[in-house]
């Protein structure tokens, strides 16, 4: 890692700092949800649909209920809870009103069931073995229905309709319309362009594959629910639970101390949380529900698969004239997220049109996965542009420098702009000019190639809260509603507090992950926690310093308490992080094997608060991107609509031995927004990694791989 920085160094911020809870974690002291055992706790298991699409004629749970120790069986017949976050039109996750108007309600148990693995019943029993046995004793009579897996096929008139209105998922206004963005006039642009290129790219469903599958423990004391669950946002989860159960927010307490990763798989509340809560209510005992790894792969969500059609018009000198995308995103049968396909915004172009269809299919549901709408879209468009550059006989880096975004939507200025610097510095450090050669030019069976892709990613400011208490011993207790999904939020908050207060890190104590003890925090999604909650910590620190100046330090039993709930804006400008990845691969064309030889990531995420965790974020994202590019996929049998490759082995997620050495260069900046100038980083590493790898493969073999993942069968197939 290197950091060519022009910023004034700070005292606590900006130095490599180990996580403040590293010892708890590695010594096993940290309590994860799986470690929670409450007295009298029951165990739940879920019976899942063995069909991609089926109407339930009858459910007979009598044999299961007859087993001693089986306490309750939930089905669509006795449970009508609607899971808001699982069924939101337009994918507007945090807008409650949409739950009221949505036409496509996702109940906890639905009839018909619309994907393989959808919950049909849930059992609570005195132990896990018994719950599993009981699940197998439930008799379900299904009427099997036709199904559709592919997002493009689902829109054809002859396709089975998963919902009565058809398979185009409605907008937030319940209109059956695609998502459209237009600027200028593309038809005009294509007419005046000297060259027009068209192509089709596809990406697959890949799972977040976080270490810890979904699980939770729910218990009621009177009318108050306590839920232990690994959620990326305790405040949002609490609100979601309250809304879905029809109780006030303050009747729900959500606790998440430690969790085994999320990558977007654990946003909000999940159906497991609601199922456990309802079972706990019905049985009057706490209930634990743990998903198995394979269940987690199909029962929660993954990245939406896409089909992308691009049309690009360029002038003779390689300047973009028109840019068009028609995209299809497979959402599964329930709409959990936008289904957007990002990437068009990366280019400066007078005439742009993007039409995206979020489509219902009978696959596992799609939802958040680290930068939900970007890696797949960036793969499509940056492969397309790499190809256009090739066909225009231009160096791809030169092509990008000519056509990349300079203002948001070519109109609104960015809070700062370092994209060009990221690319130029990267090209220099990578020795791009020396390494790049005409595609497929290496003689012999083992060929080398280089690729580049770049990114600009939203880095919003917004509302969050923090409370700081100072006692007479000089302890600063910071209350923040963060959870640590692996990015080190607790440590980051402590660093920010120490810097803002001007005290040593060891004087700071963090209270986190408990909605009864901590104020609202934005939630660990959208790379926002550091920016938003970190900003609130600074504001609270300023409040505390003012109080100290006015009242002096607290003595004896006295304390000072400061708080802040800021909601800063970027004052009409658009805030983005920028970056560029440069990759060199080796392709063994006799065996179709791709090996990443060299990987350089140049990243502007504003000021780097902790180089250790920041570097890990970039490396982790890039690593996931390489996996998505080269081998991850959830394969379905086309005749039955059943997924076959669930689990870590099946979908072939990356291992340590597949991860290359990744070099990270941070270009630090301070745009005046965010805590000490920090911008988003959590999702920044993955967004362009897939495209960079794909472009390097093209440069090595001279054949464009348009369908992910780029496995050896495709490479060997292209070369015979």
């Amino acid at each position: 890692m290197s950091r060519p920085s022009k910023l004034t160094p700070l005292k606590t911020i900006g130095h490599p700092t180990a996580r403040i809870d590293a010892v708890e974690r590695v010594t096993g002291k940290a309590t994860y949800t799986g470690d929670v055992h409450l007295p009298g706790m029951l165990y739940a298991r879920v019976l899942r649909s063995p069909h991609a699409h089926a109407r339930i004629r009858q459910i007979d749970a009598s044999k299961a209920l007859a087993l001693a120790g089986v306490k309750f069986v939930l089905t669509h017949e006795n449970c009508s809870v609607v899971w808001g976050a699982g069924s939101i039109s337009g994918g507007r996750q945090y807008v409650d009103d949409i739950k009221k108007i949505t036409r496509h309600k996702r109940y906890l148990f639905n009839n018909p069931v619309r994907f393989f693995g959808e919950p049909v019943a849930a059992v609570a029993a005195t132990n896990r073995h018994l719950a599993e046995e009981a699940v197998r004793l439930i008799n379900v009579d299904y009427e099997v229905l036709p199904f559709v897996l592919d997002q493009e096929a689902a829109l054809r008139p002859e396709s089975v309709k998963i919902w009565p209105e058809g398979n185009l998922s409605p907008t937030a206004k319940n209109e059956m319309e695609p998502e459209v963005y237009r600027r200028g006039n593309v038809e005009e642009g294509f007419r005046t362009a000297d060259f027009v290129f068209e192509d089709r790219y596809t990406t697959t469903y890949v799972h977040n594959a976080q270490m810890e599958p979904r699980l939770c423990v729910a218990g009621w004391e009177g009318d108050k629910l306590t839920l232990y669950t690994p959620t990326q946002g305790t405040s949002n989860c609490r609100h979601d639970m309250a809304r879905d159960l029809g109780i006030p927010d303050e009747k729900v307490r959500v606790i998440c101390k430690y969790m085994g990763g999320g990558f977007g798989n654990k946003n909000q509340n999940q159906d497991a949380d609601l199922i456990a809560a309802v079972l706990a209510k019905e049985t009057g005992a706490p209930v634990k529900l743990e998903l198995s790894r394979k269940e987690d792969f199909i029962g929660v969500h993954g990245r939406w698969p896409t089909t992308q059609y691009y049309k690009v018009g360029v002038s003779r000198d390689g300047v973009l004239q028109a840019l068009q995308l028609r995209g299809y995103s497979g959402m599964g049968p329930y709409r959990k997220n936008t289904g957007g396909i990002g990437g068009i915004e990366l280019y400066q172009c007078p005439n742009v049109e993007s039409v995206t269809y979020p489509v219902y299919t009978n696959r596992a549901v799609s939802g958040n996965y680290r930068a939900p709408e970007f890696p797949q879209g960036f793969f499509g468009i940056e492969s397309m542009m790499d190809d256009v550059a090739y066909k225009m006989k231009m160096d791809p880096v030169e092509f990008v420098l000519k056509n990349m975004t300079r203002k948001s939507d070519d109109e609104v200025p960015y809070t700062n702009y370092t994209l060009e610097e990221c690319i130029r510095r990267g090209a220099e450090a990578f020795e791009w000019k020396k390494r790049w050669h005409p595609p497929g030019a290496d003689p012999g069976p083992i060929k080398r190639g280089v690729g580049m892709a770049f990114m600009a990613l939203r880095s919003p400011t917004g509302q969050s809260s923090a409370v700081i208490r100072l006692d007479s011993n000089g302890r600063y207790t910071v209350f923040v509603g963060v959870t640590d999904i692996g990015a080190g939020a607790k440590t980051t908050m402590a660093l920010i507090a120490a810097e803002a207060l001007g005290v040593p890190l060891s004087n700071i104590e963090i209270v986190w992950g408990d909605t009864d003890r901590c104020p609202y925090s934005v939630g660990e999604s959208g790379s926002r926690t550091t920016d938003m909650t970190g900003y609130a910590v600074i504001e609270a620190a300023h409040d505390l310093k003012r109080q100290i100046a006015a009242k002096g330090l607290p003595k004896g039993d006295n304390v000072l308490i400061a708080s802040a709930s800021p909601n800063p804006t970027s004052e009409g400008k658009v805030r983005k992080a920028f970056g560029a990845h440069f990759v060199e691969v080796e392709v063994d064309t006799e065996l179709g094997r791709v090996r990443v030889l060299k990987y350089l990531a140049v990243q502007d995420s504003g000021r780097i608060l902790n180089p250790l965790t920041a570097t890990s974020q970039v490396k982790g994202g890039a690593t996931q991107g390489i996996g998505m590019a080269l081998h991850e996929d959830l394969l379905y049998d086309r005749q039955t609509g059943q997924p076959l490759t669930t689990g870590y082995y099946g979908t072939r997620i990356m291992t340590h031995l597949d991860a290359p050495e990744i070099e990270v260069i941070f270009i630090e900046s301070d745009d005046g927004y965010g805590p000490f100038g920090a911008k988003c980083i959590g999702e920044a590493g993955i967004v362009h990694a897939v495209a960079a790898v794909g472009n390097a493969v093209f440069n090595a073999i001279g054949r464009r791989m348009k369908d992910l993942p780029i496995t050896r069968d495709k490479i060997l197939g292209a070369l015979v």
Partner: protein
């Protein structure tokens, strides 16, 4: 049906201390008994609740089944010797390096610490359909789900298919065939010793089994004869990831070169068919020739004769051709290296 179960069902567990006790138990329970060595293939089946044996006979307490000893100038490897022990054994490394390399290519370090050589050669196929409990031929049904025009069969067979198109996934098996290993089997009738390549069977022989063991049989040891000690070896495995991934195909060759010519050779590939294939016709064709690229080309082309691709595995044909080519002629270095 993709598997979404949680915990193992109940069964009766025996942990016999001797081979005789184990054989007696297996003779007593026959079809109801399941032999368990390292348990890595076993636990998948049990946890997924697809195979539900009444009795499990765990070999972990049978001391005499584990360990590597010198025998008749060669080596005898006990069936429950772990893959890690096989990988690290100095004599195997020194004289039979191909077995060390093959075993090390299997799975991951943790799995090799627990998985045994006997289990590795006796493991079942990884066909997604079969592993997920679909009622196919191999599971006793009357159809193959992997051999349909749209089936997921990228990993399936290009050779030797007979209704079932599954492949054998063992990485140690082709190395053992190349070394002309002998497998020692205890049956209720006594001991039997078979050539490595005869241990494995295809669907034409019995569609529900991958090897010759019948209920009641136990593999006790694998013997490496001295004949191929120190030969010129080549092993290469192709997989999607660098670790923790079954072979899409692998190749193993042992050659004795005299006067620049191939005097003796044994060559095998796995994951091309339901059993690891010894390529005797290729061996015959290259004997007496120089082990160079040209000979490799001939060998590769001959090796894939009769190969029949399915919808998604046509790539295995060039793959096998190139692997066999390299096993004889070596790898061409990268131009830029």
């Amino acid at each position: 049906m993709a598997v979404i179960h949680d915990v193992m069902p109940a069964f009766e567990l025996f942990q016999p201390p001797t081979v005789d006790d184990a054989v007696r138990l297996l003779g007593q329970y026959r079809e109801d008994a399941w032999v368990m060595a390292g348990g890595l293939d076993t636990f998948d089946w049990l946890k997924d609740r697809i195979k539900r044996p009444k009795v499990v006979v765990d070999l972990s307490q049978v001391r005499e089944l584990s360990g590597i000893r010198e025998a008749n100038g060669g080596l005898e490897i006990g069936a429950t010797t772990t893959l890690t022990e096989v990988v690290r054994h100095p004599v195997i490394r020194g004289k039979y390096g191909i077995l060390s390399t093959g075993a090390e290519a299997a799975a991951s370090p943790q799995i090799r610490n627990q998985g045994t050589i006997g289990g590795n050669v006796s493991q079942d196929t990884r066909c997604w359909y079969y592993r997920a409990g679909w009622p196919c031929y191999r599971a006793g049904g009357n159809t193959c789900f992997a051999d349909t025009p749209t089936a997921i069969n990228r990993e399936h067979a290009i050779l030797g298919a007979d209704r079932c198109v599954a492949v054998n996934p063992s990485d140690s098996a082709p190395a053992l065939i190349a070394l002309d290993a002998k497998f020692v089997i205890r049956t209720p009738k006594g001991e039997r010793v078979v050539d490595a390549e005869d241990y494995f069977i295809g669907p034409g022989t019995d569609i529900t089994r991958m090897n010759i063991l019948r209920p009641g049989d136990l593999l006790t040891a694998i013997r490496l004869p001295a004949d191929w000690a120190g030969a010129k070896f080549y092993f290469e495995k192709v997989r999607d990831r660098n670790v923790w991934d079954f072979p899409l195909m692998n190749v193993a060759s042992a050659m004795v070169i005299t006067g620049g010519k191939i005097e003796r050779i044994r060559l095998a590939v796995n994951a091309a068919a339901a059993r690891p294939l010894r390529l005797a016709a290729v061996e015959d064709a290259v004997r007496g020739k120089e082990p160079n690229a040209a000979t490799g080309e001939i060998a590769g082309r001959l090796a894939v004769q009769g190969a029949r691709p399915l919808r998604f595995n046509a790539y295995k044909i060039p793959l096998m051709r190139n692997l066999v080519k390299r096993a004889i002629g070596g790898v061409e270095q990268a131009a830029w290296a």
